[in-house]
Symmetry: C2
Subunit: 346 residues, 2 copies
DNA sequence: ATTGGCACTCTATCCGTGCGAGTGCCAGAC
DNA sequence: GTCTGGCACTCGCACGGATAGAGTGCCAAT
């Protein structure tokens, strides 16, 4: 069992260590914080904390450093979100309020978050789960190419070129479009994929005799639906990892690779369990299954057109959790508001 | 003046240093290469090379290391491209030959190049300079949104949502499309921008009375044209910089930032002057104006639908130039062939 | 439960030393 | 003139020992 004061000592250790990057000793604590007790008392508390594996000593006679478990207790029980300054708030607001479509907004969001936190910022695209197809459009480009466009009600647009190798008449195009549309429009993306797959297996249905060309178009539509199903994200500030290089024992390579791959990070972010405020942190070794055991991720849920996604930052385990939690939450709230306005005020 | 043998000594130094990352001494040279002369003779040659500032000593009594100028002479006069192995060639071929549109092809290209070289790979999109607009399409999404699509003859597609706030009738849309089309289709992108700007200044021309909504659409088209004008690139393998961390004196931060910004690297790549083979290298301090004085860039031109662009790799100055030059050239050739096939064989 | 005191441990730093790699130069051979 | 062997010399670096300093752990007293 750890006493209340011991927890405050833990908080002091975490804060000072994040601040100075130096292991913190009992003397430094009584100097920088006003506990009203002597260093020896603090030492007793520290011994308890060490028994509980909340802090550890890099070597026998040095200050203590928080363990991953220590950080965990800190964010769960000790951290108060550090509210943003007025300047920061108005910064976010002015940065985000410019007009633009979903891509623009998310791109600006991720940049705002990285300047705010100095960490790698990540914004997940709203999930496909509840998205439905709202439009399918075919545009003939000539020379045997057809531009195939699929739009969802969440504002995601996918466009891709099908090499049909033949050109169609206008009315043929209208027929194909109508047929694909009837299969997809108004339906959830995931159902659409099934329906299209069935259509692919039965090319005889074609409303035109250009069977090969038509199924090429259908195949491309299927590809686009598949793309919608996959989670996407935008990321910014990867260079910040290099500024914090010393906080990583090993090379930056695995981290940079995970960032480039995206899929690992998307999985990690998706599997985190948010609290009632929509916030969550995943700390150090907790990320071991993802090969990111020296990093922490802080996320917040946001709402977009009925579907829900996440914004977050990635950085070294030794990060300023109160600030990052507050920043992530603030940005998520702005984003939610912005996307809701967008939805209604039109 | 440097003798012919001195140049061969330079080659040996560059090759060994790139290989081992150790400063190379006269004795090591006579051991690893068969010059048929003694170490003392090599030392005389090395003294000459040092006078010419082609090699330098990290400290008085250690082996020598190529200077940037030394690498330059190596690349210009001594390097023979190291031909790819059959396995590598067929690897590129199988990797690239899958079907897909321009985005797909370039994305695969950049990945092929990064696995081939182990460096950061960059592929410039074909330039807008000679591209012409081939299609303008409007798709009404409902709820006051209009999807605005612009396509060029080089296969680049841009799509963006205009918040018109009102919905149009079908025939209104057709009119607007026709009007914008008549301004742009078949004309170079850069001219289009001027024409659209003129149109923006004179909204009275609108073929419909929904003036505000119409000019919103036109504004979005202008944005898309502007986007075409800007050079674009795809990049892969940034994590490789972390593997070569030791080759950079300072932090990786400026490099990673330049990669994220893209614009610096695009300018650098554009300003390089290729030889008659379409190859070029920019070495170390030569990149000082771009803040990349510890890095080298190797590029090759490629042709795409009449316009020309570049593929390249970025890495530490101490890189394997023969291999990288050969890889970049091979990939550029495959890419040229692929895009030409694509153009004609349809 | 808290405190002051004290012995102890470990690290980081400095200094001196020796070693070895590698150079630079010279005098002689070809 | 070019090449070569030889040799003195220069440094960087690794090693060992000594020292200072930070910080702990424990204990006896309050």
């Amino acid at each position: 069992m750890v006493s209340e004061r011991a927890l405050q000592v833990l908080r002091a250790i975490v804060e000072d260590y994040v601040d100075t990057r130096e292991p913190v000793g009992s003397k430094a604590i009584v100097e920088r914080h006003s506990f009203g007790v002597s260093a020896a008392t603090i030492r007793n508390d520290m011994a308890m904390l060490e028994d509980e594996d909340l802090i550890a000593a890099p070597h026998t006679s040095s200050g203590r450093v928080p363990t991953d478990k220590g950080y965990r207790v800190f964010v769960d029980h000790l951290a108060e979100l550090r509210p943003l300054t007025a300047a920061q708030r108005s910064g976010i607001a002015s940065f985000l309020e410019a007009p633009g479509d979903l891509d623009d907004v998310l791109a600006r969001t991720v940049r705002a978050l990285t300047t705010l936190t100095g960490q790698v910022a990540i914004v997940q695209y709203p999930s496909f789960a509840r998205a439905t197809v709202s439009h399918v459009e075919l545009v003939q480009l000539g020379a045997g190419r057809m531009l195939v466009i699929v739009v969802t009600d969440t504002g995601r647009v996918s466009q891709r070129i099908a090499a049909t190798r033949v050109d169609f008449e206008e009315d043929e195009i209208a027929l194909i479009r109508a047929e694909i549309g009837s299969l997809l429009v108004g339906r959830p993306v995931r159902d659409g994929l099934k329906r299209i797959a069935a259509r692919l297996d039965d090319p005889g249905l074609a409303a035109t005799d250009r069977v090969a060309a038509t199924s090429e178009i259908v195949r491309v539509v299927a590809e686009e639906l598949e793309e919608f199903r996959q989670d996407r994200m935008v990321m910014a500030g990867a260079a910040n990892l290099a500024r914090r290089e010393n906080d990583f024992r090993g090379s930056l390579y695995p981290l940079l690779e995970a960032i480039e791959e995206q899929v690992t990070i998307l999985r990690l972010m998706s599997e985190m369990v948010a609290d009632e405020q929509g916030l969550a942190a995943s700390i150090g070794r907790e990320n071991e299954p993802f090969g990111l055991s020296e990093a922490s991720v802080v996320i917040s849920d946001y709402d977009a057109t009925g579907s829900r996604a996440r914004v977050g930052v990635l950085g070294p385990t030794r990060m300023d959790y109160p600030t990052n939690l507050a920043s992530v939450r603030a940005v998520a709230r702005y984003l939610t508001r912005l996307l809701e306005e967008d939805e209604s005020g039109r």
